[in-house]
């Protein structure tokens, strides 16, 4: 039980410590990952001994938060811990020149602990919380170099794509909890009937968003804007894996109709994104498209009703894809670019590194005895055995051929060309992380039988599937090595390079209308703003008019009265001479006039 808490809290506490101390971020990050790894291995050995751990935390009323260590979650937790530890080892070298190590390692640890919570979650509420946390931390990590052009938009795009698909998960979880009356995942898996079909489809939507399935595959390639260790972690064991893990965990309740839809979505994705990878001009974007393609294969396996095959491929793919990305990161450091045109001959600079990269590429293509062979074989066998064998098996085989073709294309580009060797800082750390992951990619196949026994399931042996898978892989590799990818695609090339945008794709159908709505909202707001301004201006004018009338009208009247009075007074005072003679003369003349008047009136 304490092991579960340790697996989650070790990276989290180290993150807090890094943020508080602000020094030695790499050491603390490695420490956190190592402790988490030890806890994960402890959980796994407990699972082998038949001990299932459970940790119940107080949560909502009647819905406690559960963390469970079943064999499945223990395997996934160990996987996450191993991959993240090795990627962090690599990151120590990769980020040597970067000035913001504190932020980088803290966010990486948040990512790891969120992913541990997600895989170990035993109830839907905790799973939702972890699901959101990995969305947030992946947004932060993709946007890590936020000052570079295009990075912010890539991060926002990734966040919005996954967030909008997350709505499916929310609705599904609400339906499941309302239906089963409990938030425990194991309990809700007993759902059946129409509810199961509906929730299965909603969960598929959520998984499509997180695992970058067609038609939501676009964000993953743009997410390459983040640092390479982030891509490696994102594509192998964490963010993108979350969608597949969700479907693998809920597979027992999915009815056959939903399974068929899942299989078809996965099949379409594996073909479409495989073609995109074939036409891609950038190594990291090629690998990103390949990730979507491989998760499509996993969905095919889930759709064929054998989630175990999907799990095995998830595990193998995690090791393979992270080593491929880490190798690509070294090439990037050596040439300062990830465009395939710039990387020509980069493999020849460092043959040992190229050997590791090639091993991982061959493992992904499915060459025995590398790990990818076993998992791919399991998927093809599962698709052949399913009731919809015709559809699913052809998708799976097409995916395998395409995998071989694009990996061979990448290897061919890296090997053919001039060598330009350049010293790389931190190569030791990067090589150490890479070597660990390549080793895993090579030998993980040997661990598959024990995982099968751990989960009490077994995969059917099928010679036909092995022959088909191997010939598809070899055929694909041969095609890809000898024929340039562009020519292989033929008329599909321009379409593939646009990411198979149907009639302009999401940009036309979703982004532009959304932008148009935003623009009209802005216009409306501007109109309201202007109206408010006009009202304000009118009031001001009113005030000015009132002031004017006050100044000129009332004040003017009063002042003119005052002025008139003063003038009248001035005029009146000139009457007063102050000279006695004049006053007296006036008096005499006046009196004389009165006499005369009186005399005239009286006597005439």
């Amino acid at each position: 039980m304490n092991l579960i808490a340790t697996a989650i809290l070790a990276p989290l506490s180290m993150m807090v410590l890094i943020l508080l101390l602000r020094r030695l971020p790499a050491v603390l990050a490695l420490l956190g990952a190592a402790v988490s790894l030890i806890a994960g291995i402890g959980l796994l050995s407990n699972a082998f001994n038949g001990v299932a751990g459970e940790l119940i935390l107080p949560g909502l009323p009647d819905m406690p938060l559960r963390l469970v260590a079943t064999p499945l979650t223990a395997v996934l937790s160990t996987l996450v811990a191993i991959i993240s530890s090795l990627v962090l080892v690599y990151a120590v070298g990769y980020m040597k020149q970067d000035s913001e190590k504190v932020r980088f390692f803290a966010t990486m640890l948040l990512f790891v602990s969120a992913m541990q919570t997600l895989v170990l979650a035993g109830d839907w509420i905790l799973l939702l919380a972890a699901w959101e946390l990995i969305g947030l931390s992946s947004y932060l990590l993709i946007g890590f170099w936020y000052r570079r052009p295009g990075v912010r938009s890539a991060a926002t795009r990734a966040f919005l794509y996954t967030r909008s698909a997350d709505l499916g998960l929310y609705v599904a979880v609400f339906i499941l909890i309302a239906n089963a009356g409990s938030s425990d995942i194991a309990t809700t898996l007993n759902t059946s009937g129409g509810v199961a079909v509906a929730t299965g489809l909603l969960l598929l939507v959520a998984a499509m968003g997180k695992s970058a399935q067609t038609p939501l595959h676009d964000w993953l390639q743009r997410a390459m804007a983040g640092p390479t260790p982030v891509s490696a972690l994102l594509h192998s064991a964490t963010l993108v894996a979350a969608g597949a893990i969700l479907l693998i965990r809920t597979a027992p309740m999915l009815p056959s109709e939903t399974l068929l839809v899942i299989g078809i979505v996965g099949g379409i994705t594996t073909v479409v994104t495989g073609l995109i990878a074939l036409g891609e001009r950038d190594l990291k974007r090629l690998l990103a498209a390949s990730t979507s393609s491989q998760y499509g294969l996993m969905l095919v396996a889930v759709g064929a009703g054998v989630p175990l095959a999907a799990l095995l491929h998830l595990i193998a793919h995690a090791a393979i894809k992270s080593s491929l990305f880490l190798g690509a990161g070294v090439f990037q450091h050596s040439r300062g670019s990830t465009a395939l045109a710039d990387l020509e001959g980069a493999g020849r600079d460092r043959p040992r590194l190229f050997f590791g990269f090639a091993l991982a590429a061959l493992a992904l293509a499915g060459i025995p005895p590398l790990s990818g062979f076993f998992s791919k074989d399991a998927i093809i066998a599962a698709s052949l055995a399913s009731p919809n064998a015709l559809v699913l098996a052809s998708f799976a085989l097409a995916g395998t051929v395409l995998t071989g073709a694009y990996m061979a294309r990448a290897l061919h580009t890296l090997w053919r060309g001039e060598t330009r060797k350049r010293n790389i800082a931190g190569l030791g750390w990067m090589s150490a992380g890479l070597a660990g992951l390549v080793t895993l990619a090579v030998i993980l196949g040997a661990a598959f039988p024990s995982i099968e026994t751990l989960l009490h399931q077994s995969l059917s042996e099928n010679t036909l599937a092995q022959i088909l898978g191997l010939s598809a892989a070899l055929g694909g590799l041969t095609l890809g090595w000898f024929i340039p990818g562009q020519r292989l695609l033929g008329p599909l090339l321009p379409w593939a390079q646009q990411g198979f945008a149907i009639a302009g794709g999401f940009d036309t159908w979703v982004v532009h209308p959304a932008l148009a709505i935003a623009r009209s909202c802005e216009q409306l707001e501007r109109g309201l703003y202007n109206a408010a301004l006009a009202v304000g201006r009118f009031s001001l004018d009113m005030g000015r008019a009132v002031r004017w009338s006050d100044d000129r009208g009332i004040d003017g009247l009063i002042f003119s009265l005052v002025r008139g009075t003063v003038e009248l007074g001035n005029r009146a005072r000139t009457l007063q001479s102050g000279l006695i003679h004049r006053e007296m003369a006036i008096t005499v003349v006046g009196t004389a006039l009165i006499f005369v008047a009186t005399f005239v009136v009286l006597f005439i």
Partner: protein, 103 residues
């Protein structure tokens, strides 16, 4: 009308006319007051003449003259008081110079 009354009235009118002339023509306050005295004297001659020749039995006429004489004395007292005050303050009683109260 008797000839005596007429003579008396003419005398009074002449006195009044001299007084008016004096009051208007002089600039000295004392001389102006002299003119005013003459005008009052002319008026009193008229009053006495009217009493003596028209209503000798009625004492009201005599009384009226006496009151006028009293008023004349009082007026003189006030007038000379003002003149003395003015002289003390300004050193002159020339009325051409006394325009301080002009508005």
């Amino acid at each position: 009308m008797s000839i005596e009354l007429l003579l008396a009235l003419i005398t009074g009118a002449a006195l009044f006319g001299v007084g008016v002339y004096g009051a208007l023509s002089q600039t000295n306050l004392v001389m102006i007051m002299m003119g005013v005295e003459l005008m009052l004297a002319g008026a009193m001659v008229n009053l006495v003449a009217f009493w003596r020749y028209l209503h000798p039995d009625n004492p009201a006429g005599q009384m009226f003259v006496l009151i006028v004489m009293t008023v004349m004395a009082v007026e003189m007292a006030v007038g000379f008081g003002v003149a003395i005050a003015r002289f003390r303050a300004k050193g002159s009683v020339e009325m051409e110079e006394a325009a301080e109260l002009k508005g």
